[in-house]
């Protein structure tokens, strides 16, 4: 009997009147799994875990330098050179089942992460966890300056439910209970529906129902977006103006800001002649980032205009004075000069390294990652002007992944980590502490085997510095190394973008009002949903 009524009151499509918002992206069919700690769960893949489980504080990746917004914690305080943090919780916060949200829950959550490395996706080394009345105090062995945002944006799970779970690592959490404004209504592999909890502690929401859909590929998602079936999404699409905006210019909007993560051409600096910084720098000087921006990334991945590789405007405050106004205009003549000085010779259109060998290289990337492949094609075209012959080779994603980790490549387009400061991306590129010999998998970073003690020191200094000036010094050093040594040529910023429609709902974050990251799989998507209101 229950079955037959399952769809009796279903209504089609999103509309403000029905209070439904449709969102989703190409993730393929999902399985019923709402364990928020697992990046493999539907909750994480679709992003709805953030509608159910709320963070202590709301951070933003596109405004990493700004102070986070209080959420479950009304305040937090870092002490002792970032080895101790004290959270003060909001009294009003309560779980969807009516139970109050207490410091016990917070402590339980952090203890859970501490106890289960498998759930500790950020790999943070937790020390002590202590409950002090309404406060929770975390202590650490090392400075958590670079991890501060990751810690304060931790979502909290209810102790009274999770303490009874035998193995939280394999628990699918089919009826998730959190403190957030939504709860799971129905789950199907294709669509997950969340419905608003009327008793939400921050007050009622306008969006009554969230419908997360998945698609099997970009073009299906694009079609859905263009047809208005999908109102909020993150899909890479070529020529979005025609494919999306033009379908409803008034309502179809798109905003692709970036955080502090980038994509770029990684060199294998352990291979000759790419161990020569002059060669790398010269190549960096001729890469036409604007062409990559327009042709390879369809103007969706923000262009990197600063030679330090730090995306703007997110990283504006970190840029060293000497690079404040620097740009990345291709400069073939300048590059040639540098090569000349370093002993490279150009004869008959072929560049020869100081030992007289022609400079040749093979770009590799997975077949099918077409923005990368197009990017490589553009770079190949660019460096031809220096007399460098490049070949683009595609591999399967698996083979490529293994080759990159093992240092078995000449140069490849790859991404970096991102974080609250440019530290994450630089550490990913240059950290000597991650260095592995060629042939041994280096999975955490430094795929290019970049060996530079100065960089390694600067990274260490930045992470453990006690003063802002020390941090600034370290950061400036890193930028200088990035520009001078070019261990990697930044090509594009990693966007945290979204397409959305204002047909039914308004109040989206925009460039003018960047109150939150616009992407629905980001923690701050909750802020967006709470801010949405019917268009009419």
């Amino acid at each position: 009997a229950g079955c037959s009524s399952a769809n009796s009151n279903a209504n089609k499509g999103g509309s403000a009147a029905s209070g439904i918002l449709t969102l989703g992206k190409p993730d393929g069919p999902q399985t019923n799994n709402s364990n928020p700690f697992l990046s493999t769960s539907a909750g994480a893949t679709l992003g709805y875990r953030y509608m159910i489980y709320e963070p202590l504080a709301m951070t933003s990746q596109i405004r990493p330098a700004d102070k986070a917004d209080p959420w479950l914690a009304t305040s937090w305080k870092w002490d002792l050179n970032f080895t101790k943090v004290t959270f003060t919780l909001d009294d009003k916060a309560k779980w969807a089942d009516g139970k109050p949200l207490t410091a016990e829950d917070v402590a339980f959550t952090f203890n859970l992460l501490k106890k289960h490395p498998a759930l500790n996706g950020n790999g943070i080394a937790f020390g002590g966890v202590e409950v002090q009345g309404k406060k929770v105090v975390l202590t650490f062995d090392d400075s958590q300056y670079v991890n501060q945002n990751k810690i304060i944006q931790q979502f909290i799970v209810p102790k009274h439910i999770w303490e009874g779970v035998k193995n939280p690592e394999t628990w699918p959490n089919r009826t998730p209970v959190g403190s957030g404004p939504y709860k799971l209504k129905t789950f199907t592999p294709q669509t997950t529906t969340l419905t608003a909890t009327p008793t939400y502690w921050k007050g009622a929401t306008k969006v009554k129902e969230l419908r997360y859909s998945t698609y099997n590929d970009n073009s299906a998602a694009t079609t859905a977006l263009a047809g208005g079936k999908l109102e909020w999404s993150f899909v890479f699409m070529p020529n979005y103006k025609q494919l999306y905006i033009a379908k409803d210019p008034k309502n179809h909007k798109l905003w692709f800001p970036s955080g502090l993560g980038i994509h770029g051409l990684w060199f294998n600096t352990a291979r000759k002649p790419f161990d020569n910084p002059a060669l790398r720098k010269a190549m960096a000087m001729v890469v036409d980032r604007n062409a990559i921006y327009t042709q390879a990334e369809a103007t969706l991945y923000p262009e990197i205009t600063n030679p330090t590789g730090i995306p703007l405007p997110a990283g504006k405050s970190f840029i060293a004075p000497e690079y404040k106004n620097a740009t990345t205009k291709p400069d073939v003549e300048g590059a040639k000069k540098i090569l000349d000085k370093a002993g490279f010779t150009l004869s008959g259109g072929v560049l020869k390294d100081p030992s007289g060998k022609p400079v040749k290289l093979t770009f590799t990337d997975p077949a099918g990652w077409n923005d990368y492949i197009t990017g490589l094609a553009i770079i190949k075209d660019n460096i031809k002007k220096l007399g460098i012959e490049a070949k683009v080779k595609t591999q399967t994603a698996e083979a490529w992944g293994a080759d990159v980790a093992n240092g078995n490549f000449d140069a490849t387009l790859h991404w970096t980590n991102s974080g609250a400061t440019p530290y994450d991306m630089y550490q990913n590129i240059m950290d000597g502490a991650l260095l592995q010999p060629i042939g041994k998998a280096s999975q955490l970073g430094n795929f290019g085997r970049f060996k530079n003690t100065e960089a390694t020191e600067a990274l260490k200094d930045f992470a453990s510095a006690t003063t802002d000036t020390a941090r600034i010094t370290a950061m400036n050093t890193l930028q200088k190394i990035m520009v001078e040594q070019a261990p990697m040529i930044p090509t594009a910023a990693a966007p945290i973008g979204a397409e959305y429609s204002t047909k039914n709902w308004v109040g989206w974050p925009t460039e003018a009002d960047p109150y939150a990251d616009p992407q629905h799989t980001q923690p701050s998507s909750l802020e967006v949903v709470l801010k949405l209101k019917p268009s009419k």
């Binding site: 399952a6 439904i20 799994n33 698996e398 992944g401």
Partner: protein, 326 residues
Amino acid sequence: MKYLLQRLAFYLVTAWAAITINFLIPRLMPGDPVQALIARFQGQLDTSAIASLKALFGLDKHQSIWQQYTDYWGHLLDGDLGLSFTFFPTPVSEVIAQSLPWTLALVGITTLISFVLGTGIGVFTGWRRGSWMDSLLPVTTFISAIPYFWLGLIAISLFAVKWPLFPAAGGYDNSLVPAFDWPFISSALYHGVLPGLTIVLSAVAGWILGMRNMMVTVSSEDYVMVAQAKGLSERRVMFGYAARNAILPNISGFALSLGFIVGGTLLVEMVFSYPGIGYQLFQGVGAKDYPLMQGVFLIITLSVLAANLLADVLYMILDPRTRREA
């Protein structure tokens, strides 16, 4: 008894060999599941998550291939296909259970339709050889040669985008939950039209040609001539004599193709965002999700074997000559 046992042993050995190969091949691929997962997120998942994921998938402890193999069989015999990596910690059996019905329904129904339709048209073209129907043949060859992802994409761009008659993606309307009620079933049918049509269109030609050729061959058999000589009605001769005999090879082909249904039609599922098992397998391959790959392979292998058996049995039922009695 020995012959039967021999036959059984043959099937068992085939199954064993296929399952072993299915076990080995994913493991011989380069890379590992965690890396694949990281790559899938392209930077949105920090490298710091690697350690936790390895711990999660149980890949942090090293096991010899042999150890894994014996474990695998141990679990298999318990009916445990393991936990999928891509959808950790969802059991593989659950992933299969949720996607298999879609594939079975879509591909099963369309296979059936194209078989019935193709055979039917084949019967007529074969019987009325030399009539205008012969001009169908070049058309069908052309259609049969079109790769169906291409056909599917064209169909989407025409009938879902240009003239939005049918939905472009999905197996059912997103507002519905799978249930045995009219809104859901009608929606599933509606969503199945376009993918179904492309499958039917590209598959039907094969059946037409096969059936036509068999019809033509059988039509000149003596017993068809006898049936004509007996003055039986055309219907009786055409169906009772010619088609009844001509269909035999097609039937076993049909049974075999039923086995391959489970393999799904990866491309159709991909193009139409259909929640079937073919796409799931493709994802599993991309994510190096050994348990999922093995599970799907197992199902495919078993169903192909079962279909072989079915083909044998069907043939036995339909062709009395194989039903030898003492």
